[in-house]
């Protein structure tokens, strides 16, 4: 029967995986009915947990364990990075089913989810959830490796290691912190070795080859490197319009330093050498190993590619330019026509066109200048093949990067002018160039680098022939001509200055009237802004203050008549900044009530997209929440409005929910517990300081910090990002007054 189920699920899965279009890759999202893990309220989970294994804990410990583990896992489930029913989760489930073909009871207790993040990791919880990161799968080379990891995690669950560890860590209260850490680490390492052994048994019974087990440890050991080790092509950026000298990428690669036999005395896992050694004995003890590294290699590779595409996208979101570009470089070899990869590449390069770009180490130096610098490639922290690219990229001057950005984004746009994202990226690139004071369009040549060399040779020949004809052999020097030529990438004696290769990279644009027109239109806008700035500097101090006040007051005026209220982040912190989960839950419920009453009062249409009504949440909503969370987090880091690649998704969600404004709020309430008898005594003695300090201490005991973020879904920009800190308790009345003021302001038009 199990084989039939497996076959059907494999067919179904193949049908889904077969649809993956990597040229127009769309994000990894959840599918199907929302699982109970995601829809059940946390308190409900805590009250209805029936796990016999918890019986060994004392009632107090059991309560603490259930509260903490359920709330922590639920926070993870709703953070936006976990997916269910997606091709990766389905694939993981199918492998787990194969591993547990002889233990269907255990299989039914388990649920498998994907965490979309680049760290290579997997873990299981006492509730029976097994999580695997996309970053781990992206690094693997076979299905068997994933099977071993899953077997290991299933063993953690079946052996109750999570509860064991909690029990162990909360016992032995007489030990010092150092002793606790050491003993806990040792206990944890023993559990890991036990899980490894059971994982091997699952692998054996499922028919996988033992040869892949050791390789799994290599995956873990080298997971800090990119998912492939491919030499970087020094001519990668050179094309018909742009020439980038090979010597930019001429630095040798940094050797890989990871070692298997590291000190694991305080680590939760044994070192790789120990694990390999221990596991070999188990492998040897089992006979009749099958020889399959994958039951379906094609499916494995497809799932891995999904994970790798997500890997690149995560790097784009995290501004890991070097990792993202190298990842794209690898994937482009397999998917040379992928619009997704091109747009990711454009998005990364776009950041170099801003006026206030944060330069990485060394980038202010010209790459030739670096030859004389004490340049340590180890400072960049990259090893292996990526280090070659990283060193070259980091040494590119700001002007080079700026020009290369425009060139690459332009080429991406031209490869398919119907691609709306590529088009938006191109428009944004031109807009940023026009606003960038470092970008001077007059400096750029109308000739490509090669044509410029030919032109130079011709002129030199012509000049030589004239000189010879008139019999002049004496060389004439001209200081001012030399300076002028140097600025335009010309060297009087040697011809074209290749360090200024970028000046020849936009030759087609210099004669493209549509580009020049677009550039001029953006430049006009910049001029207007500059004149406004000049006007500001001409104001008196009083006028400037009024201007600032007016700006401050109008910050929140966005004319919001309807709002999509995203799941708020509400934390009630207590002593030592510990989150009180139950009180946070209660505060969240109060927050919902208050927002509802405030929006009703102010006649603002409110659409809820949150966990307030758990059972009404659909998978589409769940995916939307994930997209919104990601978009807001990204824009909160950098409010310049230059993040383009998710704007189409945001626009489609705008149409779906019928509102332009997405509101995300955070409330962090702290109770400092700063009033104590010793303090009262101390400040009574320290009269009259206490006369001032004690009242302040009483009033400042509670504080609330509200963060208001409004994402304009049409523009894809964070139009409001304000924070309000006040010494006030987060009671319903205080909250009502605060939210009323905020919503009232948001409703005003500028």
């Amino acid at each position: 029967m199990n084989y039939y189920v497996l076959l059907i699920s494999a067919l179904f899965s193949t049908a889904i995986w077969g649809q993956t279009d990597f040229d127009h890759y769309s994000l990894l999202q959840s599918h199907g009915t929302i699982p109970a893990d995601f829809s059940t309220p946390t308190q409900h989970k805590i009250k209805h947990t029936k796990d016999q294994r918890l019986a060994k804990l004392t009632p107090a410990k059991r309560k603490e364990f259930l509260t903490f583990s359920n709330y922590a896992i639920d926070e993870l489930l709703h953070a936006g990075s976990v997916t269910y029913g997606d091709p990766v989760s389905q694939y993981i489930t199918s492998i787990a089913q194969r591993l547990l073909k002889n233990d269907s009871v255990l299989f039914k207790k388990l649920r498998f989810y994907t965490i979309n993040e680049n760290n290579a990791n997997a873990f299981s919880t006492n509730q029976g959830m097994v999580f695997v990161t996309t970053g781990l799968i992206a690094q693997m080379t076979s299905e068997a490796q994933l099977a071993f990891v899953l077997g290991h995690e299933i063993a953690h669950y079946s052996e109750g290691h999570v509860i064991d560890m909690f029990d162990y860590s909360t016992s032995n209260s007489g030990l010092s912190y150092k002793e606790k850490t050491r003993f806990f680490s040792k206990y944890s390492r023993q559990n890991e070795l036990e899980a490894d052994e059971i994982g091997v048994k699952y692998m054996h019974d499922a028919g996988y080859t033992s040869a892949e087990i050791e390789k799994t440890f290599d995956v873990l050991l080298y997971s800090y490197l990119p998912f492939e080790e491919i030499a970087f092509d020094k001519n990668y950026f050179t094309n018909q319009w742009m020439y980038v000298p090979e010597m930019v990428f001429n630095k040798p690669k940094v050797e890989i330093s990871a070692a298997e036999n590291y000190n694991d005395r305080f680590a939760s896992h044994p070192n790789i050498a120990t694990r390999k050694e221990e596991i070999q004995q188990k492998i040897d003890s089992l006979t009749a190993w099958e020889n399959k590294s994958a039951f379906d290699q094609q499916t494995f590779e497809e799932v891995r590619n999904i994970c790798r595409f997500e890997f690149v996208l995560n790097d784009v979101y995290n501004d890991n330019a070097i990792e993202a570009l190298y990842g794209i470089y690898i994937l482009e070899k397999q998917f040379p026509t992928s619009h997704f990869l091109r747009n990711c590449k454009s998005q990364i390069w776009l950041s170099h066109l801003t006026d206030f770009e944060l330069e990485e180490d060394f980038s202010e130096y010209d790459y030739y200048a670096d030859e004389s610098e004490e340049f340590s490639e180890y400072d960049l922290g990259y090893e292996g093949q990526i280090s070659v690219f990283a060193q070259g990229y980091s040494r590119l001057s700001h002007d080079s990067k700026m020009t290369m950005s425009l060139r690459i984004i332009r080429d991406n746009y031209l490869s398919d002018t119907t691609d709306r994202i590529a088009s938006k990226l191109w428009n944004k690139a031109v807009e940023l160039s026009a606003a960038n004071t470092s970008f001077n369009i007059e400096n750029y040549s109308k000739l490509t680098f090669n044509n410029a060399i030919i032109q130079f040779q011709k002129e030199k020949l012509k000049a030589d022939s004239i000189n010879k004809a008139v019999g002049q052999q004496q060389i004439k020097y001209n200081k001012y001509e030399a300076i002028k030529n140097s600025k335009t990438g010309f060297d009087n004696e040697n011809g074209i200055d290749s360090t200024k290769f970028y000046l020849y990279a936009l030759s087609d644009l210099m004669v493209d009237s549509s580009f020049l027109k677009l550039y001029a239109s953006f430049s006009e806008g910049v001029d207007e802004l500059e004149s406004e700035t000049d006007e500001f500097f001409d104001m008196t101090d009083e006028e400037q203050t009024d201007f600032y006040v007016s700006e401050y007051e109008q910050k929140l005026h966005i004319g919001m008549d309807s709002v999509l209220l995203l799941q708020p982040e509400i934390n009630k912190l207590e002593r030592y900044n510990r989150k009180n989960f139950e009180k946070s839950d209660q505060l969240t419920a109060t927050f919902y009530d208050v927002t509802k009453s405030v929006t009703d009062d102010l006649n603002i249409k409110q659409i809820n997209l949150n966990r307030a009504d758990h059972f009404a949440l659909t998978t589409a909503d769940f995916n939307a929440i994930a997209s919104f969370n990601r978009a807001i987090a990204k824009r909160s880091e950098n409010e310049t409005g230059n993040f383009i690649i998710d704007t189409e998704i945001l626009d489609s969600l705008r149409k779906k929910y019928g509102t332009n404004e997405l509101l995300f709020m955070e409330l962090k309430s702290m109770n400092r517990h700063q009033i104590s008898v010793p303090k009262l005594v101390a400040f009574s003695i320290l009269f009259p300081i206490g006369v001032f300090y004690l009242p302040k201490m009483i009033f400042n005991n509670s504080s609330s910090n509200y963060v208001v973020k409004v994402l304009d879904l049409k523009k894809g920009e964070l139009v409001v990002n304000e924070s309000y800190f006040a010494f006030e308790p987060p009671t319903r009345k205080f909250m009502n007054a605060r939210l009323n003021a905020i919503f009232h302001q948001l409703k005003q038009k500028k």
Partner: protein, 272 residues
């Protein structure tokens, strides 16, 4: 004074036009407050006990009563700042005794002879009333929105302090004295010192808790420094035959006012 009031109302008309301030859009704040002195400084400086009249007997008692009622109107300029005017009436008292004695020194009429007299007596505290008109500024802490939450206030007020009973209850051994109780009572206070003018510098910490959409409850602490004008205008001991000369009254009241430095208050706030 007229100018202050006029200026205040002009200010109100200006700030009412502001858009962003207020409690549910209400930008005028009326506050009624009770303020009581916390006798920390009296304890620290060890003020000696005085007397109060209870059941026609003068009984030893600490100098406790010191309380005020105030009303104020504040116009909120923006989320963080407001300007207001406060009227405050304060009832308190001072102890006329020094080492359980009253004494006087005066030049005998028709001669240059300086007469010094003292009587061991019990004299009730002299009740005082102070009226203060105080322009003030209220500033919210951090990003609190006035009038809700924690705020600080600063004010500089003009005060008039009056002795409300110039004939305090007195008891002494009349058998060993040349004077009757009524004589001393009638000539106890220098009449030229019945009203003293001065300044009040105020700094306050407040926490306002919303109750409804227009009403708030207020808790606060207040620190007040006092200054009395024109000490030299009051008669010295030898210049008056009264048992408490103007200069003496000035000094006692001045000291007593300073002891009222630290106060706590509760109040109700109505916004409109």
């Amino acid at each position: 004074m007229k100018n202050i009031i006029l200026g205040f109302f002009i200010l109100i008309t200006v700030v009412v036009c502001a858009q962003e301030s207020g409690f549910y859009g209400k930008k005028m704040v009326f506050e009624y407050k009770f303020i009581g002195q916390l006798p920390v400084f009296q304890n620290v400086f060890g003020e000696s006990k005085g007397y109060v009249l209870k059941s026609n007997n003068l009984q030893s008692s600490y100098n406790i009563p010191d309380y005020s009622f105030s009303i104020s109107l504040t116009a909120l300029k923006n989320e963080n700042k407001g300007y207001g005017l406060e009227f405050l009436t304060r009832n308190f008292q001072f102890n006329p005794l020094k080492n359980n004695e009253i004494n006087r020194q005066y030049v005998l009429t028709g001669s240059n002879q300086l007469v010094t007299e003292n009587i061991t007596a019990k004299v009730a505290y002299i009740p005082l009333n102070e009226l203060v008109i105080m322009p003030k500024m209220v500033i919210s802490s951090d990003q609190s929105r006035l009038p809700v939450g924690f705020s600080t206030e600063f004010g500089l007020g003009y005060s008039i302090t009056r002795i409300t009973n110039t004939h305090p209850a007195i008891d002494f051994d009349t058998t060993t004295s040349n004077y009757s109780t009524a004589d001393v009572q009638a000539n106890f206070i220098d009449v030229r010192a019945e009203e003293l003018k001065g300044l009040v510098m105020m700094y306050g910490l407040k926490m306002n808790y919303p109750l409804t959409k227009s009403l708030l409850f207020s808790l606060g602490f207040r620190y007040q420094l006092h200054y009395l004008f024109n000490k030299n205008n009051f008669q010295k001991m030898e210049e008056t035959a009264a048992w408490m000369s103007g200069r003496e009254i000035w000094s006692r009241i001045n000291q007593r006012r300073q002891w009222g430095f630290f106060n706590a208050g509760i109040g109700l706030i109505y916004c409109f």
